[in-house]
Amino acid sequence: MFSVIIYELKHFNHNESGNLCHQNLVPQLRLTLRGEINPITLFFHWFDHFLRVADGVGGWRDYGVDPSQFSGTLMRTCERLVKEGRFVPSNPIGILTTSYCELLQNKVPLLGSSTACIVVLDRTSHRLHTANLGDSGFLVVRGGEVVHRSDEQQHYFNTPFQLSIAPPEAEGVVLSDSPDAADSTSFDVQLGDIILTATDGLFDNMPDYMILQELKKLKNSNYESIQQTARSIAEQAHELAYDPNYMSPFAQFACDNGLNVRGGKPDDITVLLSIVAEYTD
């Protein structure tokens, strides 16, 4: 029986002046490790392990909308769906679709847009099922090499696929992709596989080989070392983001598209690091 030990990391925000401010993600993710509780008392449900990141599209700030509200609510809704068992592990797109529909059922008029990346580990079949919409993504690293990764979905440069709810007056103008447009993959995982899920803030600033270098330093699968590694990856990406001379993957991509830029890309960086380990009670 496998289990996934999930650690969530500091989510670096950058405000207008570019200063670093920490903001811890709500620790619910760690509670996703569930097991059977003594049946004499309260009853909980099994559910498979579940990772998710969503990146709020920043342009909404100009319209007076807090971009983190939409993505935050989307992910909390996904989590609720999973907690209540209203999902099929092999259909992560279904989780995304149902969650998006639930957002529309909220009395509060939510506005905003978000990318989404969902990774589900099915314990019984040892398979990982993923759904990715937009430019967040995941990497699966085995034996120091990347064995699986998500594809970025972009309409055009710096405009990723995104779920959105637009104000009525901007209905046709705002980009809104259907959850069905998400990329979905399924593959087997093994003991020791490292799954890294992150927003584009990481991938735009740190190429794969740097990430792999950091992951090599991971010695064992206990909480402290994984937290340390994830932290160092995020911090490093953050430093590179503000380096004006560094040829980041983002700058490279821009040059390939005819834009002459250098340097990192300041952005919110969220990194989730997990290891497939032996199941213990």
Binding site: T41, F43, L104, Q105, K107, V108
Partner: protein
């Protein structure tokens, strides 16, 4: 040994035994006294471990605010651990019923109450929950997170829904019951009523609610059942014995029996009359009938057993013109219907809502009853009557040619083909299909043939494919329509609205809540306002495109407006609301919850200028 000794020994032993017995009696007597003073809270001995459970599943309910297949504001949120408690506010993760207050009783679609409804039956909605294990309940706690105070009755059932063997006998017992009372705060609370002890284990609990005193929708988060697996040791009834309580018990016990034993007695024995009955029989027949009109149904059945004269009166079909059996749903079964049959040949209004579930009423029993009693039937309430099937609807369509009012609200187990029979009831004036699985063709057929329709509810009818087609048919055929409920009709567009507005000018009430495909920019709301001057109630709940222009059109054209719900739009300003309130003098309900331009201060200001209007502004935190 002399023979005296054995005698002495026997005597002594005898005396000893007598003394011991007396002593035991005295002790028991003392024990009884001390138990009477024990309060109902402390009843289990420390040897019995208490089991605490959250609900496993919601198995039945009469209504909810949310969409089918959703987890926002739906009854299924009541199962499991709480999501919101102890926070207060209007949250998606709670269980919310469809209505609150008295607003639905005040609008044009409200129906008149049945006569002879017992005053202690005030339940408007219910929800049934199961738990994993059967226990002897010691407490039931309800976690309410918004506008608490709706729960008025808690019942326990002896049947185990998870047992593969069908139960021999299904009993419902009231654990707690109270009149609706006003709770002053709208904050979250853990409701812990004192429940009665019962002598059977249960894992099926039913809550009945009455929201008429609430200022807004009540929201429930979870239900906790405390109980013991073994029967409590104290077999004496240790709860404070309330005389009224016993009375109610008697009602419940004898209800079904009353009618049973009546028939038996009547057929077998000759009832004797006493010589002196106080000249009661000198009263005119009609006067006695009038007096008996004030009795509840069980009392009427009991009175019938007293003497021949009263038996004649109590069995007179004129006493059964209105027959409300909903308050007795826990006991009503085929046998009860059979015994009532003979007296119900003239029944015009029949309420079987909530009855017959879990095998209490069979299709055959219902059919038999309707064959005898259906000919004069004008109004038939069958809300949440899950025993109904296609045959039942066929019988209704054949046996009730005069039917004008049919309520099948929340009969979600009725198969779609059952609704085909309703089209035969051409005299229908009121039809409620809330939360049923009716399909498009059956509905179109009904609309085609039932041209007398004045009140139609299609709320949450999720199997209808294209509401524009439905609206078109309504506009073409139902010219007399006065009220229309299209709550959560997911795909109606401006085309449907146009057909409705031009085809049904008599419309007084229109519920378009949570219809996301309506866009104000198409001018559909403005058109509604201009073509429906008689509108008294308009719900545009959660339509994010409602804007100032629409409000102004309503202000100009719909001056009779009494209830308006524009929850959740960002595009309406306090200024246009002021115009509306100035123009519509009869407006009494205005829901501006989650309207971002209308903050609390704006509401306060409007309240000062228009003190007779209830302006509702819900909140999440």
């Amino acid at each position: 040994m002399s023979p005296v000794f054995p005698m002495l020994t026997v005597l002594t032993m005898f005396y000893y035994i007598c003394l011991r017995r007396r002593a035991r009696t005295a002790t028991r007597g003392e024990m009884m006294n001390s138990h009477r003073t024990i309060e109902s809270n402390s009843r289990t001995s420390p040897l019995h471990a208490e089991v605490v459970q959250y609900a496993r599943e919601v198995v039945d309910f009469s209504s909810h605010y949310g969409s089918e297949n959703s987890m926002s504001y739906t009854m299924w949120n009541l199962a499991g651990v709480p999501n919101v408690f102890p926070s207060s506010g209007d949250f998606t993760q709670t269980a919310v019923f469809r209505t609150y207050g008295t607003w639905w009783d005040q609008c044009p679609s409200a129906s008149l109450p049945f006569k002879r409804t017992p005053p202690n039956f005030q339940s408007q909605d219910y929800v049934e929950l199961t738990f994993e294990q059967q226990v002897y309940p010691t407490a039931v706690h309800v976690l309410e997170t918004y506008h608490p105070g709706a729960v008025i009755r808690i019942l326990a059932c002896s049947a185990n829904p998870y047992s593969p063997i069908p139960p021999a006998e299904v009993r419902w017992e009231i654990l707690w019951s109270e009149r609706p009372t006003k709770v002053n705060a709208s904050q979250a609370r853990q409701f812990k009523p004192c429940i009665k002890q019962i002598n059977f284990p249960t894992n099926l609990i039913r809550l009945e609610v009455n929201s008429s005193l609430l200022d807004y929708y009540t929201e429930l988060d979870a239900v906790v059942l405390h109980g013991t697996k073994d029967k409590p040791v104290l077999s004496l009834k240790t709860s404070l014995i309330d005389m009224n309580d016993l009375e109610d018990d008697d009602y419940e016990e004898k209800d079904g029996c009353g009618m049973d034993s009546l028939n038996k007695k009547f057929s077998s024995t000759a009832l004797r009359e006493g010589p002196n009955n106080g000249y009661f029989d000198k009263l005119p027949y009609e006067l006695i009938q009038l007096i008996l009109n004030h009795l509840t149904l069980p009392d009427l059945c009991r009175l019938a057993q007293t003497c021949k004269l009263l038996n004649q009166h109590c069995c007179d079909p004129l006493q059964y013109i209105h027959l409300n059996l909903q308050p007795y749903w826990a006991k009503l079964n085929d046998t009860s219907l059979e015994f009532l049959q003979a007296r119900c040949t003239l029944v015009q209004w029949l309420n079987l809502s909530w009855t017959g579930n879990r095998g209490f009423i069979s299709v055959a029993g219902f059919s038999r009853f309707l064959k005898v009693c259906g000919s004069e039937l004008v109004r038939l309430e069958l809300s949440c009557s899950h025993f109904l099937n296609e045959t039942c609807l066929e019988i209704i369509s054949e046996m009730c040619p005069n039917l004008q009012d049919l309520n099948l609200s929340s009969c979600d187990k009725l198969p779609p083909q059952a609704f085909n029979h309703i089209a035969k009831l051409c005299g229908l004036r009121r039809l409620v299909l809330y939360r049923t699985k009716i399909e498009q063709t059956a509905l179109l057929s009904i609309l085609n043939f039932c041209s007398e329709l004045q009140h139609l509810s299609l709320g949450s009818c999720i199997m209808i494919e294209d509401y524009d087609v439905i609206a078109s048919m309504i506009g073409a055929k139902c010219k007399k329509l006065r009220t229309l409920d299209l709550w959560r009709c997911k795909n109606i567009t401006e085309n449907g609205i146009a057909e409705l507005a031009s085809g049904c000018p008599l419309l007084e009430e229109l519920d378009l809540g949570w219809c996301p495909t309506l866009q104000s920019s198409t001018g559909c709301f403005a058109r509604l306002a201009r073509q429906l001057p008689n509108l008294q109630k308009l719900f545009l709940t959660a339509n994010r495109s409602v804007c100032d222009t629409d409000i102004e059109e309503l202000a100009c054209n719909c001056t009779r407006l009494r209830q308006l719900d524009i929850l959740g739009t960002r595009m309406v300003s306090p200024a246009s609301l002021r115009k509306l309130l100035e123009s519509c003098k009869d407006l009494c309900l205005l829901d501006v919850s989650f309207c971002s331009q209308i903050d609390n201060r704006a509401v306060l200001e409007l309240n000062v200028s228009f003190p007779n209007v209830f302006i509702k502004k819900s909140f999440t935190q």
